[in-house]
Symmetry: C2
Subunit: 241 residues, 2 copies
Amino acid sequence: MPSVAGVIIGNEILSGKFADENGPHLIARARAVGADLRRLVTIADDRDVIAAEVRACSQSFDHVITSGGVGPTHDDVTLESVAMAFGLPIVRHPELQALLQSYDLTNPHAMRMAEVPQGTSLHRSDPTRFPVLQCRNVWILPGVPKLFRAKLEIVLTHLHGRAVHARRLYTREPESQIAERLERVQRAFPAVEIGSYPRYGEGPAFVIVTLESRDPAAVALAASSLTACLVVFQPPDGPIE
Amino acid sequence: MPSVAGVIIGNEILSGKFADENGPHLIARARAVGADLRRLVTIADDRDVIAAEVRACSQSFDHVITSGGVGPTHDDVTLESVAMAFGLPIVRHPELQALLQSYDLTNPHAMRMAEVPQGTSLHRSDPTRFPVLQCRNVWILPGVPKLFRAKLEIVLTHLHGRAVHARRLYTREPESQIAERLERVQRAFPAVEIGSYPRYGEGPAFVIVTLESRDPAAVALAASSLTACLVVFQPPDGPIE
């Protein structure tokens, strides 16, 4: 099961100028293909901060996916920062240079998009489009949501795992009362991740108990054990959150 | 201007079981009160990971706000992890113990909510409610969205700054063409943060140019400079994203 960290780069997200669409999309797609997203961090357009985060994530996880900071403007510093993270020089990539020239993008600002950390490899599904850049285990994606989504699909073909199987149970017993029972079932089924999430809505409070595992039989058995020892109820109209 | 880092703790967010509501809410509220959110990270319910992140953020930023992991169940490990971050012992807080007893929550699992890092201070607006916990510069908030939102308001009274003033301009000139002009204006107005964000929608592509500063006069001057050197257009029906 490959582990993944997502690094969203952009002052515009932290300042609230734009809502982050790429983080939630990465979560959803990682879940769908069975990749194990373990960290998702939003940081500023700052070379030192990006380099430190990329270096740490690259050491701790199998794959790192960055979003943002790869365009031609002054605040696009991701490529330099990834190079800094690994102590690599920046080089002009001949294939990227040719591609930008084919788009008639030849001014020095546009050409920054062809300047990548040494050893960067290119992945593409369509030779007329800008490729996905990979430097070691870091996949460098653009922040524009439409482009991020398209390029993420190329990355995901490299990190498929086994899909997650999930169940939810609902109880009106308070969390502090059921904690001991949850812990007992958790110990009996270490392959299942059991979580509990209280919700206080319009009606009476309740707790959502979740079960997840890549082993569907273990989820079914753990759910039976919990159903036997908790007072569960059926949510009236499908799942409630 | 106080700097702030947000630490969202929860496997349930990373695995996509629940959408993160607290991160976006923190971004919006920090912006509204003029606090400078510099980092927002979502991490797993893992003591070592939480302790390392809290320690690093505590050193780098004026305030750290955590979300999640403070309930009575086995996966609630935030309080222990904050104690680990600072090498502090966990102690039972007499006021919290009395409060839990007043709720008739006296079993050992519930009592975990009274076990906090030594030196934790309590902030409350209503003596019958569970207070906000502060350990050094770390504010420890619950992950349940309704409770997080209520308690964040108490935290925010401690970190007001100056509101951000913002303008947006829209141009159909491509980003690679305007990069040099943006950079020139950025250099002339260092107090203004200028960003550019291409958008590819149904119609022709365009670029959103944003200007932000805590100095409203600087925003107005920089916007005039940009309007004089870019071919801007008026979005037809209010702002487009």
